[in-house]
């Protein structure tokens, strides 16, 4: 069992600490999980695919807590993005991928709208002490996924804008 998984399992057995309502969490969405515009072929905002469970979402939807790195500003968002990148196998993120963010209170509140008692809890893993999970989020319908993509995680920025191009990974 890998050390990352061990950390996660041990963490899972322990009581999870809920994140403060006012904190922000960021969700990574690759270019493929953005809509591709039919005319310009430019990637648009996150699609519902960005919030569907995927590889790596073991205990819930994986996110990164921004305030783990300080105030909610560009520097902290960049640190959070780097922390996310640390957990990837090849340490690379596409420049057109995005990080979308929302307040914890809004994430939980949106769940209530759909009858889900969500919790956003800290779940550190190797390389990413700010890793968190949206628990009890088992989105089986397109409605809730769309709502998160359009009404909850409304703000985002690209990896390129965070100066996290694939080629500068070694420089971090």
């Amino acid at each position: 069992m890998s050390s990352a998984r061990t950390t996660r399992m041990v963490g899972w057995m322990a009581a999870k600490k809920a994140l403060p309502d006012a904190h922000h969490v960021m969700r990574f969405a690759s270019k493929q999980k953005r809509f591709i515009h039919p005319d310009t072929l430019e990637p648009m905002g996150p699609s519902p695919a960005a919030f569907a469970l995927r590889e790596g979402d073991e205990g819930g939807v994986s996110v990164v807590e921004v305030e783990h790195f300080g105030a909610f500003d560009l520097a902290s968002r960049r640190s959070a993005a780097i922390a996310h990148r640390n957990t990837t196998r090849d340490k690379k993120l596409g420049p057109q991928a995005i990080f979308a963010w929302a307040k914890v209170v809004d994430v939980v509140g949106a769940g209530k709208k759909y009858g889900k008692a969500l919790r956003v809890v800290s779940a550190p893993v190797d390389g990413n002490p700010a890793h968190a999970e949206i628990r009890h989020f088992a989105p089986e319908d397109i409605d809730i996924l769309d709502y998160y993509a359009t009404d909850v995680f409304q703000e985002w920025c690209t990896v390129k804008d965070l100066s996290l191009t694939p080629h500068n990974a070694a420089a971090e």
Partner: protein, 201 residues
């Protein structure tokens, strides 16, 4: 970097940096030629993958195969789609299969889902141009927008769709979602005046 040579054309393909595949011409004879060529390329690709030391295809090869697969299948129904539509779809698929942007958790487009989308486009004579994305399952998801409203459709294998309408009516915001056979899509969208979106009206 693995390269492949198409046996009939001698064209070399790089697995690491895929280019959009020229497939369809306007005449039926050209379509047949394009299909034959792509089928040869795909066959050759599979042979190369099988012969690799690890026996495991790299991401580039997998994307190449998946892209070729949907383009070859599209050529079989090309008579029902105009060239502009085909080219637009292929360009969007190429963008979604962008090797340089590939991340963990990304999925190749699922042929069965893509087939459902094309059948829906043909059945409903869609003239509109949706934005596209891919679910982790590989299903294609399409987005139409108009004013403050939008229609989102996930194409499922087996000619079914999940759909969502989010719109602003005179009485306030409305959201409606459901799952239907593709043949019923226009009917279920009609109460929300969203069926016209499929035609670009």
């Amino acid at each position: 970097v693995t390269t492949m040579v198409a046996p009939q054309t001698g064209v070399r393909f790089s697995a690491a940096r895929m280019q959009p595949i020229p497939l369809l011409q306007t005449s039926s004879s050209h379509q047949a030629i394009g299909t034959t060529r792509l089928a040869s390329v795909t066959k050759e690709t599979k042979r190369e993958v099988g012969a690799s030391p690890a026996g495991v295809a790299g991401v580039g090869l997998q994307l190449f195969n998946a892209t070729a697969e949907v383009k070859v299948w599209t050529s079989r129904v090309a008579m029902h789609l105009d060239r502009v539509t085909r080219d637009r779809l292929f360009a969007q698929i190429d963008a979604l299969h962008d090797h340089d942007e590939w991340s963990e958790g990304d999925s190749k487009i699922a042929l069965a889902s893509y087939q459902t989308m094309i059948r829906a486009m043909i059945h409903h004579r869609m003239n509109s141009k949706p934005a596209l994305s891919i679910m982790p399952s590989g299903n294609v998801i399409a987005l139409w927008t108009r004013d403050a409203g939008r229609l989102t459709v996930e194409f499922l294998p087996g000619n079914r769709v999940r759909w969502l309408v989010a719109m602003q009516s005179k009485q306030g915001p409305e959201r409606a979602a459901g799952e239907s056979p593709i043949e019923r899509l226009s009917d279920v969208l009609r109460p929300y005046d969203a069926d016209g979106w499929l035609d670009g009206c």
